[in-house]
Symmetry: C2
Subunit: 183 residues, 2 copies
């Protein structure tokens, strides 16, 4: 059974509100600059009372960080194929697919600088997934690179091409990144 990174997934109404609010943010950012986003505007678009947003997220920054982390990575399943190389290849391909989504640019722009220390909230979950894959290999008795080094070699080029070069990743290339890391 594939393991998933555990994220809080409250069921029922709470999950529906979160989904509606996240969708409203993504739609809003596709049409408007990030700076124009306010909690009342998102509440209205999502059909939710503004108080709900203030209680749940507190601020635009926290809402954006939540959207960014769940949009970019929260729903990516961490593969468990029994092989570190294959796990990383599948995961890198999933990341590449996610980065190819047209919504990504607006969300990236909106959340760069939103993370602790000035980074992007969009990377925390990615690093957690990577750590989970690498730790699992160690628990099998294998050796695995450090998370930060793996992020440099895999996420560095993936993000660089998607965001700065504007060139889509092809499957052969993402597999090569993994081979470079495990060489």
């Amino acid at each position: 059974m594939p393991a998933t990174i555990s994220t809080t997934r409250p069921g029922g109404r709470s999950a529906r509100v979160r989904a509606a609010v996240h969708r409203a943010v993504v739609e809003f950012l596709a049409e408007n600059p990030a700076e124009a986003l306010t909690l009342p505007l998102i509440a209205s678009r999502a059909g939710v009372h503004p108080t709900t947003l203030y209680r749940r997220w507190g601020s635009v920054a926290e809402l954006m960080a939540d959207v960014a982390s769940s949009r970019f990575s929260g729903d990516i399943v961490v593969p468990d194929t029994g092989s570190l190389r294959e796990d990383l290849r599948r995961w890198a391909a999933d990341v590449a697919t996610d980065l190819a989504d047209p919504d990504v640019l607006a969300l990236m722009r909106a959340t760069i600088g939103s993370g602790p220390g000035g980074g992007c909230a969009c990377t925390a979950d990615r690093h957690a997934q990577l750590t989970a894959i690498l730790d699992r290999e160690r628990s099998r008795g294998g050796t695995a690179p450090e998370t930060l080094h793996a992020a440099d070699v895999l996420l560095g080029p993936l993000y660089y091409r998607a965001i700065f070069v504007g060139q889509p990743a092809d499957p052969g290339w993402t597999a090569e990144l993994v081979d470079t890391l495990l060489k």
Copy 2:
């Protein structure tokens, strides 16, 4: 004598206007969202007639692309030490220093999506510099990796850490990136 990437550097008044306008853009973005930037506002801040900006840059997008490419890379001297490894180490260290500048975040945010094909105008000059370094090694009779691969291995992690992780690069780490590329 160190080679430099040739960029148009008109002397005299024209160069002064360009410098004043670029400075005005950087200062404006440090205080305001990118979406608020207009050519008349920049003209006023730079003490230049708006017509000059319209004639020279045509649009906000072109001005931003010009600022991004010259700010991020136009003034980096391409090293020529006689050794590919040492050239790349020096160049990567210069890129890292540039990316550590606090102004960088605002300019990145403002110019992501500004390049051809949706990338960032900030990378075109970097790739030109990298190509110059790699071509020079070939002209010496040595072998050198392709530019795009070198960009993946060097610029990928450099940009990823600076923009998405918010972690400054240290000199030992940038040297390792070069060693990974030339391994």
